[in-house]
Amino acid sequence: MSAALKTTFRFAVNGRARIIKTEGDRPLLEVLREDLGLTGTKYGCGEGQCRACTVLLDGKAVTSCLTPVSAAAGKKVVTIEGLATDGKLHPVQEAFAAEGAIQCGYCVPGMILTTAALLEKNARPTDRQIVDALNGNLCRCSGYPRILVAVRRAVEMRGAADAGQD
């Protein structure tokens, strides 16, 4: 057996510090799933074309299949498992469940994380902006219309929550 070069990487996953000794060119997707047991992040194509593998890297939505684990070093990773806080769903999660924006559900984690990142940048996106932001995320059940409804609802829910804080 060859001695594949392993390096130690430190990063935070869902708010928890992690130290992983592994090959630096391993996809973050596989480290999350296989080393950390976080299987909510999905493989869909391995070439960044379907974004089922989307995670937040320092708040930015990235395709974890194309992100080597070395690129996550020193950064904060959020996966679908880390989006809810204290058992309370993130508004985007709540909206997807409430609006039934789920057929097989395999694309849903990626859809939700892409939406969460969008709403951080743009709290009140137009339909056009939503569609543009999610165009990279494939749903083969083609449940796009319901997903759009869910994202609109998440926008409203966040707006209402912000208003409540004023």
Partner: protein, 698 residues
């Protein structure tokens, strides 16, 4: 307490239930059901219930199928061999049980597709869950309710299902339940007929649900399998030992099967790459997609020929009918191979323990896959358990068990559980395809604008919806078997899409020849009132007549209809044809769909919407290209499936028919999409596209 109560008389099946006639038998189990739900009342349904395809195995009947269990803690469990791949079966079955038991759907646990626990409901295919499994579940649940009501009468108390499950008076209660209980009439539905989204939505949005590719077992390794570089290539030489030199991986070889396992997917991949570098292949000539249709025609079955004889249905005389017709037309239509490309590629986790094999896998055919494993490893059925966690899409593409067998072979060698997940590239190349098809159609129309002769030949595409719904005194329908260059199988709507595309476009050609409006021509030639109703519903919503009056360059309207698997669809499209690409862009789309009594309008709407948008792929962009035994577009970067921006403005009209039994709805809506668009593209340009995907000269 009796262990088992025999039914006094079987039910008289209603006509439409002949294939699935349920009779009932009740057992109280305190043994075999412990693993699922503990002791309690187990209601079984006897007979050929809920097989996937009409006429398939299952007519023999007589086997006891455990369908509903009420635990002594009041837990209600429904058991089914059907799978959930996004079509909404889990929620629908929970609703069906809840309706009849007068309980909340959230109280119903649905155990699906675990061959150790559930009855064999055949394939999840052919839109059969609604017409076959739902009635079985409703019957079992209605029986539970009647037993409860009888217990309440006998015991003169407000007994609950928990009391029923624990009751020593069950036999007495049973005696008052002659021949199974009546199900709730549609007009009294409280749960069915009302919108409900996926009952396990929370598990999905939190990432907690484990899809087949997410299953992790103690000590599990990751597998990969060596694939041929091209179709038909055979392995001449290989050095499996290369794997261990390259990575922390162990190779497995048995004949042509070569793979390796490692503690990570990464190491497994590296190991496989090292093996692949040593492999020598003998390649074989393979027809290219450019020559596909000539190949199909050359290899087609001929009467009395060596290959499989064609299937022919005919009435009257085609020759006379054509001769007597005022207008006579013939045309050839083509449909390419397309790939399902579900979001979750094939995946399986296999584990051997105590002489038994357990495989978690994404398949629409759990018992079929179990049987394939039994055969592959020379086991008996009791030694194999297949479990299908709710999976990431199927669309008819996951009827086979190759991944399960591969994972089991690797796990057997490794002596540890192995997870094998096909890559997207493997899924594109080695999963089976929707069949390509060639159509030759000739027809005649009389002076009154009525079809008088209809001659329809289908090469290779398959027989679903091959029969014309249009009246014709003289008709011949032929299906010819061909040598398919690619592995082919089912798909959402399978052959109905191809048959309906060819037929509905050609009907437009006939309407033009007869100088008739496409809608009026259809109505004049159709007797089936359900088809006429959806045509009228769609065209009304679309303002068909008004839109025909206005003309805009390169913009046109088209209509199409169809029926398959007991449901009816009609669609109207308005397209604008792109000058450069010749691709029609959908500007507006209306679909009317009718599938009898609607069980869950929210899910039905999603199935129809999904069919429209998925159907846009086949209509406009999807076609598998291959050359020298390799795919030219086997990736999401090259094979264009519908994305968010491709969703056109559209409307869905759900036609409810509470007077008719519910039919499945996940497939049929897709069959009207491509022809409506092709007909609109013709209306826009005067150019007829006789192939999918649709392209015309603008």
């Amino acid at each position: 307490m009796p262990d088992k109560i025999d039914l006094l008389e079987p039910l008289e099946p209603e006509r439409y239930e002949l294939r699935e006639a349920p009779t009932y038998e009740f057992t109280l189990s305190r043994r075999e059901f412990v693993e699922v739900a503990g002791a309690g009342l187990l209601i079984t349904v006897t007979g050929s219930v809920a097989r996937a395809q009409p006429g398939a195995a299952g007519r023999s009947g007589g086997t006891l199928e455990s369908r509903l269990h009420i635990g002594e803690d009041g837990t209600v469990t429904i058991l089914t061999g059907k799978v959930e791949v996004g079509q909404g079966s889990r929620t629908e079955l929970a609703m069906a049980a809840a309706e009849e038991m007068r309980i909340a759907p959230e109280r119903v646990r649905v155990v699906m597709a675990d061959t150790d626990l559930v009855p064999n409901d055949g394939l999840t295919a052919g839109s059969r869950t609604t017409p076959s499994t739902v009635p079985a579940v409703r019957a079992a649940a209605a029986t539970a309710r009647e037993l409860l009501e009888n217990l309440r009468r006998t015991a003169k108390s407000a007994a609950t299902y928990t009391d029923l499950a624990r009751s020593s008076e069950l036999a007495a209660a049973y005696k008052q339940t002659p021949g199974g209980a009546a199900v709730t009439p549609v007009k009294d539905w409280q749960v069915l007929g009302r919108p409900r989204y996926r009952i396990d939505g929370r598990e999905i949005v939190t990432g907690a649900h484990q899809f087949p590719s997410d299953i992790q077992r103690q000590g599990m390794l990751y597998g990969s399998v060596l694939r041929a570089p091209s179709y038909g290539a055979t392995l001449a030489a290989v050095d499996p030992g290369a794997a261990a030199k390259a990575a922390d991986a162990v190779a497995v070889r048995e004949g042509n099967f070569v793979g390796c396992v490692a503690p990570t997917s990464y190491a497994s991949r590296k190991g496989l790459e090292a093996i692949a570098a040593t492999a020598r292949w003998e390649t074989k000539e393979h027809p290219s997609s450019a020559k596909l249709f000539a190949h199909l025609k050359e290899t087609a079955s001929k009467p009395g020929g060596a290959s499989r004889a064609p299937r022919i249905q005919s009435k009257g005389s085609i020759e006379d009918g054509l001769g007597e017709s005022k207008h006579r037309l013939r045309a050839e239509y083509r449909v390419p191979f397309i790939q399902h490309a579900p979001m979750e590629p094939r995946a399986a986790v296999a584990e051997w323990a105590d002489g038994r094999l357990t495989v978690w896998t994404g398949t629409q055919n759990p018992f079929g896959v179990r049987d394939q494993l039994v055969q592959a490893f020379h086991l008996t059925p009791e030694k194999v358990r297949v479990i299908v966690p709710d999976s990431g899409g199927g669309f008819g593409g996951k009827h086979t068990g190759e991944t399960a067998i591969e994972a089991a072979r690797l796990a057997k060698e490794a002596g540890r559980p192995v997870s094998l997940r096909w890559t997207r590239a493997e899924e594109f190349m080695w999963a089976y395809f929707r069949p390509a098809g060639l159509f030759e159609i000739e027809a005649g129309v009389d002076a009154n604008g009525l079809i008088h002769a209809w001659d329809f030949s289908n090469y290779n595409a398959g027989t679903a919806a091959i029969e014309s719904p249009y009246r014709s005194a003289n008709a011949r329908t032929r299906f010819l078997y061909c040598d398919s260059p690619l592995r082919e199988g089912s798909y959402r709507g399978i052959a109905a899409t191809a048959n309906n595309f060819a037929r509905e476009c050609f009907i437009d050609e006939l309407a033009l020849a007869a100088s008739a409006d496409p809608l009026e021509f259809r109505l004049a030639n159709l007797d089936d009132t359900r088809m006429r109703d959806v045509l009228l519903a769609a065209s009304k919503q679309f303002n068909w007549r008004e839109r025909g009056a206005k003309r805009t360059p390169r913009v046109g309207r088209g209509i199409a209809c169809g029926t398959e698997k007991g449901s009816y669809v009609a669609a109207c499209a308005e397209v604008e044809v792109d000058v450069n690409s010749g691709q029609p862009h959908v500007r507006d789309f209306v679909m009317a769909f009718e599938c009898g009594a609607i069980l869950n309008p929210a899910n039905l709407r999603m199935q129809v919407e999904g069919s429209i948008i998925q159907g846009l792929g086949g209509a406009l962009t999807e076609a598998i290209e291959f050359e020298n035994g390799q795919l030219k577009n086997g990736s999401f970067a090259k094979y264009r499936v519908p994305r968010f921006r491709d969703v056109p403005p559209f409307e869905v009209v759900l036609v409810n028919r509470p007077d008719l039994p519910p039919a499945g709805a996940g497939e049929t809506p897709i069959i009207a999409v491509a022809p409506a668009i092709a007909n609109a593209a013709f209306d826009a340009t005067g150019e007829r596209s006789r192939s999918m995907p649709v392209r015309v000269k603008a």
